[in-house]
């Protein structure tokens, strides 16, 4: 029964579409246009789009691969026409492109047209439901540029019920300028359901419409929609500010937590901390490359699989550094500062000589790609979420290690009173070494967490060193809680100031605020009782 109705609808759709295709499609002419200049290509793109709405099934099937071929630069033009992969673009008979063939490049304007045309053709004729759903998502971005009848025809022939509802919803949204007042009001309500600044601009423009003055129902619908969108945007902006602040804070925290152990607990001003972060990122890269060659199936999970490697390698470097260099300099803080600076220069140049100066190429697994729009203009991006989750996990583990393990107990004991700790039999030398290893390992984890967000190159460590010292000093040297609160504070304040006075001012203001705060409370937010000196 339902199938019968579908058939009837499809038939009706074809009949309705018939008048639009008075002339049969001139295929060679269309291909010639596709190989023409930017203007001709634009016309061809518009023709493809019209074809998607009103062309015969056969023509649509023929045209389906064309737009995609242009986008992917797979169409080779020569004197006699064009070659699509290994077949002739017009006849689809096997043919190879001559060496003299050229591949047309889409201008930006035409690219938008061809993306829409490709999605429109796919929505009508792609065999796979997922492909059609993806096509619909592309079309949703530009409801204004769709030809009349496209969505109705697509809805009529759609076999998947859920997708059909989505197409009908989009069709209703597109009816904003329809002559039918009920459809218009319906469209307004539909648009207001997904509030954004773009929707607000679109709906606000209707206040200039003659119907706004004459039709009370229309006016009410517009006003209600504007109010609703305004609320949505306000909520979205608040959430976005919180999320941005939190994600920046998680980055600051990851950069600073290792230093909080090394500088905070041990009192070593480690200027090589940024380079340890950089090495963590390079270890992640090496794990990715190893997986690529050994187990390509697991490549997407390299970020997770690299966690132990990033931690252990940097921890080992830290321990080696402590054992060979810094243990001799504990009594001379200035010398340890210079020594770690030399180490940082050494590490930068070592990596530069081995890997070169260019940014490393990281795969972006699905769990750190893109984001979902939530409400208003707030987009929940997965790479930032990954950093936040990673920071939370790191915080939990660090806290557990320092508070709940014998090692943590020893570290705290040595921090509070080194001589007394030694007297009761704590091996202070070994505790120093382990603490330094822990701090370095945490820096390595920071490098891993930051690689989906920032560019990874030998210089990257320098970006983090000032920020991490800022966080550690503000938090109160040596407290994990202080590090967390300071990172959250600096991150949030930065994000709030940036849109108001710009990024440069934000940086200066935050620095001044920290200086002011330290004048008032030199020990930072959370003071630790008893220091090693």
């Amino acid at each position: 029964m339902t199938r019968c109705i579908h058939l009837l609808l499809a038939l009706a759709g074809t009949l309705l579409a018939l008048p639009a295709m008075a002339a049969p499609l001139d295929r060679p002419a269309l291909i010639a246009q596709l190989c023409g200049n930017a203007g001709a290509m634009g016309e061809a793109g518009a023709a493809l789009l019209a074809l998607a709405a009103a062309g015969s099934a056969e023509d649509r099937g023929w045209a389906a691969p064309l737009a995609k071929a242009l986008i992917d630069k797979k169409l080779a033009c020569d004197d006699t026409g064009a070659v699509l992969g290994d077949v002739d673009a017009v006849t689809r008979a096997p043919r190879t492109a001559p060496d003299t063939a050229r591949t047309p490049v889409l201008s930006l304007k035409n690219r938008a047209v061809f993306e829409t045309a490709d999605a429109a053709l796919a929505l009508r004729s792609a065999p796979d439901t997922d492909q059609r759903a993806a096509a619909l998502r592309t079309l949703e971005r530009r409801p204004g540029s769709l030809p009349e009848g496209l969505l109705d025809a697509a809805a009529a022939s759609e076999s998947d019920a859920g997708l059909r509802t989505q197409i009908e919803t989009l069709a209703q949204t597109a009816a904003l300028n329809s002559p039918d007042m009920a459809k218009r009001i319906n469209a307004i309500n539909r648009i207001a359901e997904t509030p954004s600044r773009r929707a607000l601009t679109q709906i606000s423009a209707l206040k200039a419409d003659p119907a706004y003055a004459s039709d009370a129902g229309f006016r009410q619908a517009v006003d209600r929609a504007v109010g609703r969108i305004d609320r949505g945007i306000a909520i979205g902006d608040t959430l976005a500010a919180l999320y941005n602040g939190l994600s920046f804070a998680s980055i600051l925290f990851m950069a600073a937590i290792g230093l909080a152990i090394i500088f905070g607990l041990m009192g070593v001003i480690n200027l090589a901390q940024g380079e340890l972060i950089m090495i963590g990122a390079y270890v992640t890269y090496l794990v990715q490359e190893a997986l690529r060659h050994l187990v390509p199936a697991l490549l997407d999970w390299y970020l997770v699989l690299a966690i132990p490697f990033a931690f252990l390698v940097t921890a080992a470097i830290g321990i080696a550094l402590e054992a060979s260099l810094l243990r001799h300099l504990y009594k001379r803080p200035l010398m340890s500062l210079l020594a770690t600076w030399a180490v940082s220069l050494f590490l930068v140049n070592l990596v530069r000589v081995i890997f070169g100066t260019q940014n490393l190429q990281f795969e972006t697994p699905f769990y750190v790609t893109g984001g979902v729009p939530v409400i208003g203009d707030f987009i929940f991006t997965w790479n930032r979420m990954f950093a936040i989750a990673f920071a939370v996990a790191t915080l939990a583990i660090t806290w557990a290690v320092v508070r709940k393990t014998p090692l943590g107990l020893n570290i705290r004991a040595v921090t509070q009173n080194r001589d007394m700790a030694a007297c009761i039999g704590i091996p202070t030398r070994r505790v120093d070494m382990m603490a330094f290893g822990l701090g370095s390992g945490l820096a390595g984890l920071a490098g891993l967490a930051l690689s989906p967000i920032y560019s990874v190159n030998p210089q990257m460590g320098q970006n983090f060193i000032i920020d991490s010292f800022m966080v550690v000093v503000l938090g109160g040297v040596g407290t994990i809680a202080g590090t967390v609160v300071a990172a959250l504070g600096i991150g949030q304040i930065n994000v709030l100031i940036e849109p108001l006075w710009g990024a440069v001012a934000a940086k200066v203001i935050v620095l001044l605020m920290i200086i002011g705060f330290l004048q008032w409370r030199p020990e930072g937010l959370f003071a630790v009782k008893g220091c090693r000196k």
């Binding site: 930017a38 203007g39 630069k73 490049v105 201008s107 930006l108 304007k109 690219r111 938008a112 971005r141 954004s196 600044r197 773009r198 607000l200 601009t201 679109q202 423009a205 976005a240 941005n244 920046f248 980055i251 600076w341 030399a342 220069l345 050494f346 930068v348 140049n349 070592l350 530069r352 000589v353 070169g356 100066t357 260019q358 940014n359 490393l360 190429q361 990281f362 972006t364 893109g370 984001g371 203009d377 987009i379 991006t381 790479n383 930032r384 920032y454 560019s455 990874v456 190159n457 030998p458 210089q459 990257m460 320098q462 970006n463 930065n494 994000v495 940036e498 849109p499 710009g502 990024a503």
Partner: protein, 416 residues
């Protein structure tokens, strides 16, 4: 080893770096060339610091050009020797290295600087020492020194044609502009000129917005939010004019793509974006974003094929720590610069800087870009062609548009 050189050497690299950096030719500055009959050229490009990945490769391209000249018998019967320094992306150090090269090494010409701020620090030195600096970057203009050859283009023949293209029917009919730059002289001057230009076209002040970030800025989350909000206000097609430099470029592009903004929604015109900035990025999400330069790697023609082949061969033969299959505009401009200098010196029959300067008028060279670039006696600017590139999936740029010929360079902008 002189006292001065030892000090700058220490500042540039630190003792720890010295051993490892030597393959990059760091100590070359200390090696006083005694070889009789050679003429010295100096390079002022950083091999360390934030600009290392970009500037570092220019040292090698200058050496490659010198090798080409030497293979043809040198200039005026003398072989060309290239001295390299490392100002470590530290602006005052450029001036110091320049002074040292001019006073102690007596170089006949300097090739160097990338950022405008480094050029500005070197400028008084070359003027005082009566040296000659070839500057290979496109830049903000508004400067004309007889001691500097501006090998690349001022905004009138690079930025304005690109912005014109985007505002035109064939481009995207851009109506609104978000200017985002690093906070220093080049972005600020370019944006000032652009604002003047738009004003002259009758575009209202509400149609643009200007934001600056500190050097090395990487957290672009809120700024991309601002760009989205700006674009959604309606009022015509928005574009981003991007003048951030160095590592901020890939960080911005990554965040832009990750928030789901495509080039067909809001195109970015990256004025300092070169092929090397795309290394490491997933460019399939960035396809369509734009840049404008006097050379793109995909330029057609035999001159480019020859250049790309010699660079690939040179990288292989000399074990250069950069990719042999990536060429960027400043590399080609530095290469052009060495050849222009050699032609001028040959024409003058002398290496004296006043004589060489006098010989500039009427010089022309077949640039790898495919254009015949030329100099006039009027000023030290070089007329170059203009390309607009569009990011492709393969971390390169497709040529979207190129100028018919080489526009006459206008040093001082009427719009600033």
């Amino acid at each position: 080893m002189s006292k001065l050189s030892r000090r700058s050497f220490l500042q540039a690299s630190g003792l720890a770096a010295a051993g490892l950096a030597s393959p990059i030719g760091m100590p070359a500055i200390l090696r006083s060339a005694q070889a009789a009959g050679s003429v010295k050229l100096g390079c002022l490009f950083s091999s360390s610091g934030t600009m290392a990945n970009l500037e570092g490769r220019l040292n090698y391209v200058v050496k490659m050009a010198a090798d080409e000249i030497n293979a043809k018998g040198g200039v005026n019967g003398r072989t060309v020797e290239v001295m390299v320094s490392d100002p470590a992306s530290d602006w005052p150090l450029y001036a110091q290295s320049a002074k040292q090269m001019l006073q102690q090494e007596k170089v006949s010409a300097l090739f160097g600087c990338w950022t405008s701020v480094s050029r500005k620090t070197v400028l008084p030195v070359v003027e005082q020492e009566k040296g000659l600096l070839f500057y290979p970057l496109h830049f903000e203009g508004d400067e004309n020194s007889k001691n500097v050859v501006y090998v690349n283009s001022p905004p009138a023949s690079s930025v304005l044609p690109a912005v014109d293209y985007l505002m035109g029917e064939e481009g995207v009919s851009a109506k609104r502009f978000f200017m985002l730059g690093s906070d220093y002289v080049w972005p600020r001057t370019i944006n000032k000129q652009l604002k003047g230009y738009w004003k002259s076209k009758g575009i209202p002040e509400t149609a643009w917005k200007e934001e600056y970030v500190p050097f090395g800025f990487s957290n672009f989350q809120t700024l991309v939010n601002q760009i989205r909000a700006f674009a959604d206000q309606g009022g015509g097609q928005p574009i981003v004019v991007l003048t951030v430099v160095g590592s901020s470029i890939p960080d911005f592009m990554r965040e832009f793509a990750n928030q789901g903004i495509k080039a067909t929604d809001i195109p970015v015109l990256g004025l300092d974006m070169v092929e090397a900035d795309l290394e490491g990025l997933d460019t399939s999400k960035l396809v369509g974003h734009l840049n404008c330069w006097a050379y793109l790697q995909n330029a057609k023609g035999a001159a480019n094929a020859t250049f790309l082949k010699s660079w690939a061969d040179y990288v292989k033969a000399k074990n250069v720590p950069f990719k042999g299959d990536v060429a960027i505009d400043p590399m080609v401009s530095a290469y052009d610069a060495v050849h222009l200098w050699a032609m001028a010196a040959a024409k003058a029959g002398s290496f004296d800087i006043p004589e060489v300067t006098k010989a500039f008028g009427g010089l022309s060279f077949d640039c790898p870009s495919g254009y015949k670039i030329g100099m006039t006696a009027e000023n030290n600017y070089v007329s170059r062609g203009v390309f607009i590139g569009s990011v492709n999936e393969k971390q390169g740029f497709d040529i979207l548009w190129q100028s018919k010929d080489t526009p006459k360079p206008v040093p001082f902008s009427p719009y600033g």
